[in-house]
Amino acid sequence: MRLTLKIWRQANASAKGSMHTYEIDGISPEESFLEMLDELNEQLTAKGEDPVAFDSDCREGICGMCGLMISGQAHGPEVTTTCQLHMRSFNDGDTITVEPWRADAFPVVKDLVVDRSAFDRIIQSGGFISANTGSAPEAHSTPVPKPKADRAFDAATCIGCGACVAACPNASGMLFMGAKITHLGELPQGQAERGSRVRAMVATHDGEGFGGCTNIGECAAACPKEIPLDVISQLNNDLRNSGKYLR
């Protein structure tokens, strides 16, 4: 496959970036998107140019490290992570635009790498349960109804990649936050801190400079783990009832 790549290049956090165009040939449709970028970087390095910086880790779609805006869509045209996106999803001769996640809460570190520690700070402010650690308790000591366990598990599949923020027209982190609120709120262990959790997480989210949710639904469509939009309703419900949970 022969491709034209338009890639955002930015030397560091304070530098002014711009789009650069690269031509690449001989790409196999079986390659992943990141392998294609690896090939580009090999060619750039051979020419003595600075390779394109991008995040990746497991390359199995489970760590949440990779994430690129590919031709205007978070993680590209398929419902998956960037590492699990394959070149067969593109056509020979395509022009592909590659940009970092755009949100002021996710500042660009270099090229396509953004700093997502704002998500960590949201989790630190309330996305946990204050339980004693140690040996795991007997699994059946705290019964959880099956539908609640299923919903908690589905919400817990969030890998924190930030595609929801990247795809959101408001650059809001509500789907990410809603996933954690729903995950812990459905389980008995999450009840003690249910009221304080939602208040603290929303305050941190807003303070980090994320936008507000207007229920457009682009987040859920972009989510590689298919977290549904109802976690945002759940978050709003928990926030509205937070006074009751605190009593």
């Binding site: 205007g72 002021d104 507000g212």
Partner: protein, 216 residues
């Protein structure tokens, strides 16, 4: 935003019901308009109910617009560098038109209040100002015999319908009432039905006048 939006939807439905009385003729419509002014007397003063509604709506407009412009500003600040290419995956036309649609509706409401409440200008030369001031029925039907007035109202009602279509479903999310896929589908369905009902219900009287079905 959600609570004030629901207040507007309830008002709009009541308003639409009143408008449909145009189909019952001059006597019924003028009596309805008069009754609105003396509603609740003697418990309420003359125009009492009307002023309570006006104050509630005015306060709601201020809160709704303040929340909307705050969200708009936050969205701009949250993404100061825009994407070179950005494709929407599934966003409805209604949801994309929320902000400018809201501004459109606000401007229309100002026009509408000048048109039928504050100034009541006579824009149809076939009628006199005295006739228009004497009968709300004449006031409305005289205006809707002019094509560009009808066009303004048709466009405004389409904007309103789109705003309700996304707004009502969005309100159920904000109020935390769409906590499952089935609840989400129901909320979206109800929003679409209310939006369609609003557009059709509001456009029946002006179009009936424009096409000469009533008030010939």
């Amino acid at each position: 935003m959600a609570v004030t939006g629901v207040i507007f939807v309830l008002f709009v439905l009541a308003h639409m019901y009143g408008n449909l009385k145009l189909l019952s003729g001059q006597l019924a419509f003028d009596e309805y308009a008069h009754h609105l002014r003396v509603f609740g007397e003697p418990m309420l003063p003359k125009m009492g109910l009307l002023w309570i509604m006006r104050i509630v709506l005015l306060v709601s407009v201020v809160i709704h617009a303040y929340a909307a412009f705050t969200l708009w500003g936050r969205a701009n600040n949250a993404r100061s560098t825009r994407y070179a290419v950005h494709k929407m995956a599934q966003a409805s036309l209604s949801s994309r038109f929320m902000r400018w649609g809201g501004v459109t509706i606000l401007l229309f409401v100002i026009f509408h209040l000048i048109h039928f409440t504050i100034v009541k200008p006579n824009i149809n030369a076939d009628y006199t100002q005295a006739q228009i001031d004497a009968s709300p029925y004449i006031m409305a039907t005289a205006s809707f015999k002019i094509w560009w007035v009808v066009l303004i109202y048709v466009l405004a009602m389409i904007a309103l319908g789109m705003h309700i279509n996304h707004g009502l479903w969005s309100a159920t999310q904000t109020l935390g009432w769409a906590n499952s896929p089935s609840a989400r589908a129901t909320a979206k369905g109800i929003a679409l039905i209310v939006a369609a009902l609003t557009v059709v219900g509001f456009l029946i009287p002006p179009l009936a006048v424009a096409f000469g079905l009533i008030a010939k």
